[in-house]
Assembly symmetry: C2
Homo-oligomer: 256 residues x 2
């Protein structure tokens, strides 16, 4: 479906899926070695301009360090685009100054309601068109993460320095008490961050009793407690509206 | 039920539940101030020998720092016993050298199958009887945590130093992929730990496909990757068999 849409509407884009995308090995699309090799194939190929992550299911933390270590010259100027668990790779690349990590829809997001638009947004962006980015981005550098993914990243060898950054987070399918404890964990470890913005917290499972405060109350509570400014909502989430957020400073030409 | 059991079988124990245990406020047994005040009431009362946590539901990280800061002389020699989310408090107390934190069944565990025995084990322990502790404890200091609780603790101001410690972990109701990423997270941050032992990983939700490796494979994988020795299974978990693990060095007199 993604290839058909790209062929019909983006003839200037040469899009290909690595065969690894279709491998199944337990929970993963191939074992660690297979996934790592596929990522390095694409990252180190000088004829490829961008690596677009197919899906965001779990597994990136098992290969991210080796991936960053294995990336050569061709990866340095390349765009890497995805989100959710793939944020682990984006974070590691950002930490090591490799390429241009970008939070945005995955190829697999075409299956969502309105997913075609998410795919078009990415293909326009990757084509170098001027596209609408996350609307709250300003002159300050930003990063965007799934909240759980970020929580598993902080304190590890993969975590980038977010000093002076605005940190955008989103989550899906976690109880509000889990959101609360994730906020405890991350707000203790975003040293120097200039603020947090809250994306969509979707598909929250029913608690055995109402949690007692909203997702925004939670974000405000922990921001206040940790001294990190809470900067309001962000237009990111596990949905077709999930906006594009280039890591780092977004240059004016990237804005519509 | 716990009071009745204690009265019938442990007449030497003067057991009382703080009224706060029965407060309901959203997800919590009282708001942060109410829970904090109750914990400090008990911790700072020189006539109380031990604080036994009633339940292990989420919320301890919201009050743990203030609790540690508010504990005075009477808390210094006191036993604090519980597990699951209450491990956050135990960890913080261990970090600050306050009292004797002990991993063990909660009062609420009486509702489990065989829960009476869990309650008896605790009441014997708190009475100063020689009771059976977790059978793998040796001359090395130990700590025991719920895996998610530990993952939220590492890197924060509440995390104790686990250098030279054996770290026991257990989990309930998490997917195996979540166990895997929690192991990634903790094995990066247990500096100096001499080993990890794996308690029970229970009530694992059905994945959309089999994960592809077992809980013990996961523990071994991350231990090998991080260089922390994997030391086998541990007799702890969210069940009535959950063994008692005093934090730190277990003195010979504590063993049966």
């Amino acid at each position: 479906m993604v290839l058909a849409l790209a062929a019909a509407e983006f003839p200037q884009v040469d899009l290909a899926f690595h065969p690894q995308c279709f491998v199944e090995k337990g929970h993963f699309a191939g074992d660690d070695a297979v996934r790592l090799a596929a990522l390095l194939d694409a990252a180190n190929d000088p004829d490829i301009d961008a690596v677009w992550f197919g899906m965001g299911g779990y597994g990136a933390c098992r290969i991210a360090a080796d991936a960053a270590a294995g990336m050569g010259e061709a990866a340095r100027s390349k765009t890497f685009l995805g989100y959710s668990d793939a944020g682990t790779i984006l974070g590691a690349l950002y930490r090591y100054g490799i390429g241009k990590p970008v939070h945005g829809p995955l190829a697999g997001d075409i299956k969502r309601d309105g997913g075609d638009e998410a795919i078009r947004r990415v293909l326009r962006y990757l084509s170098g068109e001027v596209v609408e980015l996350e609307t709250g981005l300003d002159h300050r550098p930003a990063v965007a993460f799934n909240l759980m993914t970020l929580a598993m990243l902080v304190g590890t060898e993969l975590m980038p320095d977010v000093k002076d950054h605005v940190v955008l987070v989103e989550e899906i399918a976690e109880h509000l008490y889990a959101i609360d404890r994730l906020f405890f964990h991350i707000t203790q470890q975003l040293e120097g961050a200039v603020g947090i913005r809250l994306g969509r917290i979707s598909a929250v499972p029913e608690n055995d009793r109402p949690f007692g405060s909203t997702e925004e109350d939670i974000a405000r509570y922990w921001c206040e407690k940790s001294g990190i400014p809470y900067l309001g909502r962000a237009d990111i989430g596990h949905d077709a509206q999930n906006a594009i957020v280039p890591f780092g400073i977004t240059h004016h030409k990237d804005f519509t």
